[in-house]
C-alpha cells in the first residue's frame, strides 16, 4: 500500500510528509492490532511509529546515496 501511495506522495510534496506519516502510522497500527494475539496498545503504537521512521530514514538515505553517486559520476564525466 505504501508503494501505491508513492505517486500521491510525489504529487503533493508540501502536504505529503504529515498526511503520509499520519496515514502510514494509522494503517500500521490498524494492521497490527487486528492480529488476534496483539499485545498492549501502547507498545503497538510505539512499534508502529518507530518502525515507520526507522525504515523510511534508512530507505531515503540509501536512495539518496545511490542517486548521489550516479549524479556525481555524471558531473565528473561532464567535467572531464
Amino acid at each position: 500500500m505504501g508503494i501505491l501511495l508513492t505517486p500521491v506522495a510525489l504529487y503533493a510534496p508540501k502536504v505529503f510528509p504529515l498526511v503520509y506519516m499520519a496515514l502510514a502510522i494509522t494503517y500500521q497500527i490498524r494492521y497490527c492490532v487486528s492480529f488476534p494475539e496483539t499485545s498492549s496498545r501502547k507498545r503497538t503504537v510505539f512499534a508502529a511509529i518507530g518502525s515507520f521512521f526507522a525504515a523510511n530514514f534508512t530507505y531515503y538515505f540509501l536512495v539518496g546515496v545511490v542517486v548521489g553517486i550516479q549524479v556525481a559520476a555524471e558531473i565528473a564525466a561532464a567535467n572531464n
Binding site: 500500500m1 505504501g2 508503494i3 501505491l4 508513492t6 505517486p7 506522495a9 510525489l10 504529487y11 510534496p13 508540501k14 494503517y27 490498524r30 494492521y31 497490527c32 492490532v33 487486528s34 492480529f35 488476534p36 494475539e37 496483539t38 499485545s39 507498545r43 503497538t44 510505539f46 512499534a47 508502529a48 518507530g50 518502525s51 526507522a54 525504515a55 534508512t58 530507505y59 540509501l62 536512495v63 545511490v66 542517486v67 550516479q70 549524479v71 555524471e74 558531473i75 561532464a78 567535467n79
Partner: protein, 145 residues
C-alpha cells in the same frame, strides 16, 4: 439440430465478467488482484492473517501483487511526471561555478536517474520495511514482514 443446441448450451457464455477475467488472465491475474487490494486496504491485518494461516485461494500471491503494485506506481509516477513536481519544490542541488553542468542540468540528470531506478527503489522498500517491522514488533510476537 438438437445436438447443435446441446453443444452450444455446454459452451460457457461470454459475459462482460468473462471478458474482464480474460484480460486479467493475460497478466496471470485472473482472480484475486482487485479483491486482495481492496481487502488489504480495508482490513489489512485480517487479510494477511488469512493469507498466512487460513486460506489462500481467494487472495493473490504476494510477490505477484508486489510486481503489479510497483508497475502501476512507477507507470503513474513517470507518466504524470510526478518526480519533476516533487524535485522542483523540495530538492536543491548547489553546483560550483566551475562545473561544466548548470544547476538545472544537474537537477534534470538527478530526476532522470531517479526515474530510471524508480521500480528498483520501490522493491528496495520492501526488505527495509520488513527488517524494521520485524525488529520493532519482535517483542510483541508479530512478524509482519
Amino acid at each position: 439440430m438438437t445436438d447443435q443446441t446441446e453443444e452450444e448450451s455446454k459452451l460457457k457464455r461470454i459475459t462482460t465478467r468473462s471478458i474482464f477475467e480474460d484480460l486479467l488472465d493475460i497478466l496471470n491475474l485472473k482472480r484475486g488482484a482487485p479483491y486482495t487490494l481492496w481487502q488489504t486496504l480495508l482490513n489489512p491485518g485480517k487479510t494477511i492473517y488469512t493469507y498466512l494461516r487460513v486460506d489462500r485461494s481467494r487472495l493473490i500471491n504476494s510477490f505477484r501483487l508486489l510486481v503489479l503494485i510497483v508497475t502501476i506506481s512507477t507507470f503513474i509516477t513517470i507518466k504524470l511526471n510526478l518526480t519533476e513536481i516533487a524535485f522542483k519544490d523540495n530538492v536543491s542541488i548547489s553546483v560550483d561555478g566551475n562545473e561544466a553542468l548548470t544547476q538545472e542540468e544537474v537537477m534534470l540528470k538527478t530526476k532522470d536517474i531517479f526515474n530510471s531506478y524508480l521500480s528498483l527503489f520501490s522493491f528496495l522498500l520492501v526488505p527495509i520495511l520488513g527488517v524494521f517491522t520485524y525488529w520493532f514488533f519482535k517483542r510483541s510476537g508479530h512478524n509482519v514482514a
